[in-house]
């Protein structure tokens, strides 16, 4: 076990009564990595995050965040968290919510940090309004701001775009890219495959509490299997090795085909995901 790993989980499991919410999660995440946790509803994604943050006690297994055991309050100093069911006191303003969290983490120069995170999530102009007047999307943005306050070394985002419109989703993707540039480790729970595909280095797929696939996106999706070529009459798939692609194109041109586009044929994350989590 390396003390510098952002997350090391070994055989982490959670059982509620007779239901295995999470079964034998073993995982290693390097600092600065962006890891996507994928899975259908009830797969155990949120349970995994709650376990890592000490909000839920494991039935079995151990885990560390930056070398510190989960469940220890000091361990949580490194973490920021946006819960899936984000909710903040509706009688406070966004700035007051953040000020409260700043005091919980004993953040120095809190006013400036609060202004910075409000700007980062696009709430800079409305930070003094009460949370109760916010739309759901704005409340989710506030939740992201709370998670980012104090520049934590690791950020757990549980479905961070569930209440956002397409513009907001794009902004969150840009935000995740900025976090990666800063070296912040990101643990992203999502069932929005496109989102994970665009921002994550690695993916872990959960189904009914079990890890069914884990690895880099390239490794998970596999190498290109031939090409798709768009001719006058539409797309055609050609199952050829990579080195044979130039010859294929030359042959098609020689045969008089008019080629409009050529693209590698890889499985999409959605295809791979459905193959992994579908029963049978």
């Amino acid at each position: 076990m390396s003390a510098v790993d952002a997350i090391v989980a070994q055989g982490l499991a959670k059982r509620y009564g007779r239901v295995d919410a999470l079964h034998d999660l073993s995982l290693r995440v390097a600092p600065g990595e962006c890891v996507g946790f994928l899975g259908p509803n009830g797969a155990g994604k949120s349970t995994a995050v709650k376990l890592l943050l000490g909000l839920v006690r494991p039935t079995r297994g151990t885990a560390t965040l930056f070398g510190e055991p989960i469940g220890d309050r000091h361990t949580r100093r490194a973490a920021g968290y946006l819960p899936e069911l984000f909710r903040y006191p509706d009688w406070l303003s966004a700035r007051e919510v953040l000020a409260f969290h700043a005091r919980l983490i004993r953040l120095g120069n809190a006013g400036r940090a609060i202004g910075a995170v409000l700007d980062e999530v696009g709430l800079g102009a409305r930070g003094d309004e009460r949370v109760g007047t916010y739309s759901k999307g704005m409340q989710q943005r506030l939740g992201i701001a709370v998670a980012l306050l104090g520049e934590p070394r690791i950020v757990f985002l549980d479905e961070p775009t569930s209440a956002l419109d397409p513009v907001g989703r794009g902004e969150v993707r840009a935000l995740l890219a900025r976090l990666r540039e800063r070296g912040t480790t990101v643990f992203l729970n999502s069932h929005l495959l496109g989102e994970v595909e665009r921002v994550c280095d690695r993916v872990c797929v959960l189904d009914r509490g079990r890890v069914v696939a884990e690895g880099s996106l390239d490794g998970l999706l596999g190498a290109a299997r031939g090409v798709r070529v768009r001719l006058d009459d539409g797309w055609h798939d050609y199952d050829v090795a990579a080195e044979a692609i130039p010859d294929l194109i030359a042959r098609l041109v020689a045969e008089g085909a008019r080629i409009h586009a050529v693209e590698p044929r890889t499985a999409t994350l959605e295809e791979r995901f459905l193959a992994l989590v579908r029963p049978g």
């Binding site: 949580r76 968290y81 903040y88």
Partner: protein
């Protein structure tokens, strides 16, 4: 200090959500209404003459005890209704998740919520109860023997109820925790009556059952303490002569022959500590 942070948040919430303003307004209305009632008492005539001062004060004392009895119920129900959501609401709606993901102890959150609720109840007891007693004094001239002691006893009973409500809210839904705490207060009051009847009739089983309830939920002993501190000395003496077991409490729930024994007060303090400890243990081991 994180505990104080949560206590301040609890008080701020009560202010911002207009609970303090609403309760303040209703209290003001009640105090004004009773002031009018006491004034009518001073000008009321029997056979063409107003009540002589001793009779006026004795009547005022009786009314004060009745008002204190109603106030103790209001305070207890308030303690249940404020205590349970102070913790339970954030558990139910998920607000607590982002908070407890911070490097804080769960005990700090629980203690802060408890402290904030308790401060609110003590302030309410002091302001509302104090205002009523001042009004009575100004209009009728009657001053109970130990007004501050009485208010402290009433606040103590509220502390018992709110501790129970918060402990129950660590596991039960808010409405259930609040309702059960309020019902336990009512049960303790009934237990006190059962004990009194048992003593009056020399029925050990009844008396023991009442004592058991009083020990299990010790709010009634505090009501007795408040009662003793509010009633004029002559009432206490009368209660003592009428009671076959004066030291134990008197013959009816509206008079007390003696203050609660020190051992019972110590038991009550210990009870609060134990229930608070149980709440901590329950909350610490709860999955969120």
């Amino acid at each position: 200090m994180t505990v104080l942070l949560f206590a301040a948040l609890t008080l701020r919430e009560l202010m911002r959500r207009r609970l303090a303003a609403a309760v303040g307004f209703v209290t003001l209305a009640i105090v004004a209404f009773t002031a009018w009632g006491f004034h009518r008492l001073t000008v009321a005539t029997v056979g063409g003459v107003t009540l002589p001062e001793p009779a006026l004060r004795a009547t005022a004392a009786g009314i004060v005890i009745l008002l204190a009895f109603l106030f103790s119920f209001v305070l207890a129900i308030g303690a249940a209704l404020i205590g349970a959501p102070a913790l339970g609401e954030s558990l139910a709606n998920g607000e607590i998740l982002a908070v407890l993901a911070r490097p804080i102890r769960r005990a700090e959150l629980l203690a802060g919520r408890w402290l904030g609720t308790l401060v609110a109840l003590v302030l309410f007891a002091a302001v509302a109860g104090g205002a009523e007693l001042l009004v009575v004094r100004a209009i009728t001239g009657y001053v109970p023997p130990h007004p501050l002691g009485a208010l402290a006893y009433l606040a103590g009973a509220a502390a018992v109820v709110t501790t129970a409500a918060i402990a129950l809210a660590t596991r039960l839904p808010v409405i259930a925790a609040g309702a059960v705490a309020a019902l336990l207060f009512g049960l303790a009051w009934i237990g006190g009556i059962v004990e009194t009847i048992g003593l009056a009739l020399n029925n050990d089983r009844l008396a023991d059952a009442g004592t058991l309830v009083a020990l299990a939920f010790p709010s009634d002993a505090l009501w007795r303490g408040a009662l003793y501190d509010l009633q004029p000395a002559v009432f206490s003496a009368l209660a003592a002569t009428m009671s076959p077991s004066a030291a134990a409490g008197g013959v009816n729930p509206f008079s007390a022959a003696a203050p609660p024994p020190a051992a019972l007060l110590a038991w009550t303090a210990g009870w609060v500590l134990v229930v608070f400890g149980a709440a901590l243990a329950s909350f610490r081991t709860r999955d969120l």
